[in-house]
Structures are given as C-alpha cells and as structure tokens.
Symmetry: C2
Subunit: 428 residues, 2 copies
Amino acid sequence: MTESFDAVDIIRTKRDKGTLSPEQIDWTIDAYTRGVIADEQMAALNMAILLNGMSRAEISRWTTAMINSGERMDFSSLGKATTDKHSTGGVGDKITLPLAPLVAVFGVAVPQLSGRGLGHTGGTLDKLESIPGWRAALSNEEMMRQLADVGAVICAAGAGLAPADKKLYALRDVTGTVEAIPLIASSIMSKKIAEGTGSLVLDVKVGSGAFMKDEARARELAETMVGLGSDAGVRTVALLTNMNTPLGLTAGNAIEVEESLEVLAGGGPEDVVELTVRLAEEMLAGAGVHDADPAAALKDGRAMDVWRRMIAAQGGDPEAALPVARESETVYAPADGVLLELDALSVGVAAWRLGAGRARKEDVVQAGAGVRLHAKPGALVRAGEPLMTLLTDTPERFDRAKEALEGDVVIGPEGDRPAQQLIIDRIA
Amino acid sequence: MTESFDAVDIIRTKRDKGTLSPEQIDWTIDAYTRGVIADEQMAALNMAILLNGMSRAEISRWTTAMINSGERMDFSSLGKATTDKHSTGGVGDKITLPLAPLVAVFGVAVPQLSGRGLGHTGGTLDKLESIPGWRAALSNEEMMRQLADVGAVICAAGAGLAPADKKLYALRDVTGTVEAIPLIASSIMSKKIAEGTGSLVLDVKVGSGAFMKDEARARELAETMVGLGSDAGVRTVALLTNMNTPLGLTAGNAIEVEESLEVLAGGGPEDVVELTVRLAEEMLAGAGVHDADPAAALKDGRAMDVWRRMIAAQGGDPEAALPVARESETVYAPADGVLLELDALSVGVAAWRLGAGRARKEDVVQAGAGVRLHAKPGALVRAGEPLMTLLTDTPERFDRAKEALEGDVVIGPEGDRPAQQLIIDRIA
C-alpha cells in the first residue's frame, strides 16, 4: 500500500454520488483497519454508501479489500471439492445442522463457518452448543483434519478472517447503517470467500422473520452476492426462500437440534426436509456432483452417521440427552378454524425473550428455551387445542414472550389462506 | 430533559426520510453535547441530514436546541436597539471593520462576535489582530461596557455560546458533512441568536471565492437562515452578494485594515464602500432607524471617530503603524486588453499560501502577508504593467502562491466581459 488518500475526499466523493477508485477502496479498508480512518469518518461514509449505493465494481473491490485485511484459508490440499451454505437468518432455521453432514455423505467437504445469534434470529453455534461437550472453536489444523476425516465441520470463524469486516460490522450496528445492501453483501461474501470454499449456496430469506422483509430488496441482495462470488471465482447460487412463518416446528436451541435429529433419522417436518434436500442438491451441483440423491441419504441413515462423527470430532456426545427447559406454558387456539398466519418475527421474538437468543453479544443463551409449535399455517385447529408450548428456565419471561405473540396468530375460514411457496426463486 | 431516546432509531428515522420529533431533536443535541451519542452516531446522522434534508420545523428546533446547549446573552439593559451582520465568508471581505463603527454612529449597538479564518477565506479577528495591542477576547462585562460607551464591539465569541455547535462543527469538518444547508444554517443562526442581537443582516456570498459556488444553493441557505431568525424573533434579512472576484483591492490582514481605514476616511474602493453602505442601511432599518445617511458618516469622519474609540477600548493603538511584509513580488499583466477575470478563489488561495490564512486551527497567521491588487475586472491593462503585489515574510512561499493564480487572470477584448452585479438579491 504505497498511495495515501484523504478520508474527507473519499467521503465527499460518495456523498456526491461519485465512484471510488480501486485504490481509494483499498486504502479505505486498510486505513480503517489500522485506525487511520476514524470511526466517525467511516460512519459518514457508510451512511453515504447506504443512501447513494455502490457500483458492482466498487462492491467487488470493497469485498476483496476486506478479504485482504486478513488471512485466506486454502483447502486445495484436501483433494476434494468444497462447498458451503450461508443463510441470511430466520426463525427456526436449523437447516445447517442436517445439511452439512448430508452433503458430506457424497464426498464433498463442507467447511461451514457459522455465527451466534443476535436479536430474534437464532445462531447455529448456539444451537450446537446445547449438545453436551461440543465446542465451536477449532484451530485451522483441527478444521483441516476433520474435513479430511469426517468431511463436514461446523465451527466458529477465527478472528483472522476479514478482521476489517468485524470492525465495520460493530460500527454499522450502532450507526443505523446495517441495512446497506453493498455493505451486507460484502460483509457476508468477504468471510465466505476468505474461508476458501470452492462453491457456495446462499439462502436469502424474505418475509417478516427475515432481515429483508421485501422481496425486491432480497433479490437485489441475492444478485449482488452471486455477482461477488462469481467475481472471486466461487461458484455461487442463491435461493430466495419464505420466512413469513418459522421453519419447522421449533425455534430455540436444544429443541432445534432435536428436530434436526428427526430429519437426520428420515423424518421431521416437511418444510425442513424440503429445504435441506434442495440446498443439498444445489451444494452438490456446485461441487460438480450431479447424480446424488440426498433424500435417500436422509432416509437410510448415511447422513446421521456423518452427523455422529462430526459431533464427536468436536467433543460432543451424540448420544447424550439434550437439555430441557425447567418451565413450560401452553398457548391454546382461541377459536375453531384454519391457522391462517403464525408470524415468524413474533415467534422469533418470543423465543428470544424466553432466553433462546441474546440482546447483546455478551449475553448467555438458555439451551432449553424456545417455542415449540403444534400447528403450522394451513392446519385445521379447534378452540382450546394447544397451538404452541413456550419453554424457559426463568418463568418470569413468559409474560413478555406472550406479548410478542399477541395478535399474530390468525385463525379463520379455510379459503382465506393465500398459498405460500417455500422456495420463491433461484438466482444463479 | 426527562425523555430518553435511542440514537440508532433517530439515525434510522432520518435515513429513511422521516421527520424527527421536537423531543427527539432536543434529546439528540443534549445527548451529543453530554457524550451519550457517540461521534460515529452523530456523523451518520449528519450524513443522513445532508442527503435527505430537514424540514423547516426540524431545522428551527435543531437551532433552538443548540442555543439551549449554552448561555444566551441579553443586551436589553443597554436601552438601545442592537444589530449584527454575518458574512458567509469571502476573499477580501473586510466589510465588518468599517461597518460596525459606521452603524454605531447612529445610536444602534453592534455586538459583532467574529471568528478566525480557515482555508482561503480570511477571518475578521485575524485582520484586527494586526493592529498593535488589540485583543479579541473580552468578558461579557467588558463587552457590555464597550457597547454602552462606544456602541460597537468586534470580539471573539466566548466558549459559552452554543457549545453543541462547536463540537458538531469540529465533527462535520472531518466527516464531509460541512455542506449540509440545514447544518450550516443552524450553526450560524444558533450563535447569532444566542448572542442576543435584536436584528441581523446576513451577507450570503455566491461565487468562486464563496462557500456557496451556486446561486440556487446560496438562495436556499439565505432563505433558511432568514426563516430561522424570524422563528426566533430576530428581524433578519439577507443579501446575496457576488464573490467571483475579491472585494476591494486587498486580501490579507494588515492590508485589509489599511483599506478599511481608507473607507473610514471617506475613500477606498467603490465595491467596498457600496457594500458597507448598503449593509449599514439594512442593519439600521432592522434596528428601526430609517432616516440615516451612512455614506455621509463615512465622508465626514463620524465613523472613523467610533472606529478609533472601538479599537482603543480593546487595547489597540489606532495611530500605530501596521505591520508590513518583509518581502514582495510583483505579478505583471501578460498582454494588453481588458482584465476580464480575476478569480476570487485563486487570489484567496494565493493570500492563504503567502501566510495570511491558516490550514489548521493551530496555525499562526502573518500580519503583513497577502495580495494587493492593482486592477480589478473591467480595468484596461497594458502588457508589463503590475497587476498584483504578493506579500509575505517567507519568500519561499511565492512559488506556491503564483501556482494558485496560474490561468486565473484573464485578459481580452473589451466586449467580452459579462456584467456582474455586486448585490444580486435581497431576501427578507
């Protein structure tokens, strides 16, 4: 990095709807990481980016600069194709748990770096940590060994990957600039590209429980990320999927592991199975495997075998009983009819308030807390039947959880329910 | 202040083109002054304001909140009308120097709080400090006494006036958010209203040497400020005036005092006299004095008498010789013809580079440095005639000053010069 720029010039350029040069972008990310650009300057630039946008070329360079702020992993010595999945986050989204071992069944390595939950969307690592003994933190060497031996690993991203993103994300969180599509896309893709996967499937959620409520914006985000993947030589496809109602029948930590085990045992809720199989097909196709039958690998126990080895390799006991919440409270159907709506955001917030999620990074989650659904939209229900069970170790939380659900369970006559597709579109 | 808000909510509201409530605005300014809102949050909010604007009601409340962050002066015990002038800054703009004593001649008090120069525009205090012994810092009591005795005071604003503005301006300076009209207008007007003047005349400069290059934006700024003044019960008018070429024949510090003395002695350049008289008429009218003849008060020495008392009251010796630059260099006309253009920005930058201005607040200015013009646009010149004299104590500065002037002195045939009005419009 020989050239130097002026931060205020760079802010002004974007403020006035100009285009940042590749050299300006490289300098911006490097200077911010080194503390030469101050937080207040980066905040002003982020707001200008949010409001005035960035060109595809700018976003691509911004992503590359974030990757170059840290280490880049390399799985080429494995001698296997690699693939990964990223979900933009939803309620009841435990798909990674059955998916990673399922894909590994077919000889493709799955280096799945995951995160913890914040707010109403759950985190994959929080869910897995409800398994006694399981640990999220692996060294690069442990990760490589597990990929070679088991074929699948779900672990925490090390601090060495895209450190610029880490600093930038914390800033965006307190400055109202999380929602900028160029910044979301580059944040996600810088980590996934630095992680060194050969192909990538993006599950971009749309709906009340998703980060993107609006299909047009979800599509724009998906297209931007697919473009960034291609620019970096990572075969990338995106599915737009429905997040107006929770995925499956559980939203929490241990209860989502339990549901994942049902799927790995060949059962489980239809929507979770459908999305798991479809994402597995996309991941395998991206890795060059076109003749696989993932649905069969769920039915015949091959995926479960990989799961057990994957959990054990990270210190977990796949046979151990999962934690159970100390207290429960049932929510009953208020009327006869068809369950027309069961809002994903409301269920997510209820689960969060019951202790399954965290409000601040420092918070500790309850393994057993969450919401178990007894009916999904479309089901016929009778007044007084159980609709949901609320679970927590701390019963003083029930009231606030029920508040979150108020008005968001809609029961009515059969004909009133609009058809909802789980998989809305595919973007490649 | 009993209510509390969330900074991120406030940023998001403005980011999404919403309107901030009066309570949100009060909280924002108070919380920022107390350090509860962080610099990075205020920077993001400022950028959102710059790009999405604020309503007249929002700007008015923002201004009031800034006033309420500090003390408010009160001149009612003087028993005289008060009036003040603010210029948005230009090159060779020494108007305050003859203007304040001129207005005081007619029994109206002029509490003129002024600033120092930054960049290519000069500062009134820097100019006056070239007078041996003169001091800018007065206590409120000294200011009151001088207003009662002499009728005019030009001094530095105390730290107690609108401290929120001081903090906010420093932030805007490093985050590319100086140019937001709502923020400029509220910054200027909060200080002027807190200063306690009964009426105010704004000299909003337009052109190459002005902060606003563009007439439409200058007009918007003027209209916004006039509205803010009226909202606060301060009779306010604005003149839009031309700043494509320097005012008068000097740009510097001591040389501008010298030119002001010529005006106070009944002479001086036509444009400086015209603007001084016109602004005096506006200030006097705002203070309820309609039968004054300021031009006569310049000719007959009454304004000079007040000037001498005003300077002496602040420790200055009105008879002392002014500092003279140690070195000079002459710039000659390259051809015969009419001087078509003499760019204000270029002359301002040349004077700045010669040592008359400062790049950072901490810099010290040279009292004698600057540019003396020998011809103004419209004048007939001959090749080899002196056009300007560059003045500095540090001759190594000549080259960079000449670079600033390169290409910006245009000489051509008579008919090619577009007419330029000094006073473009009046906004009340």
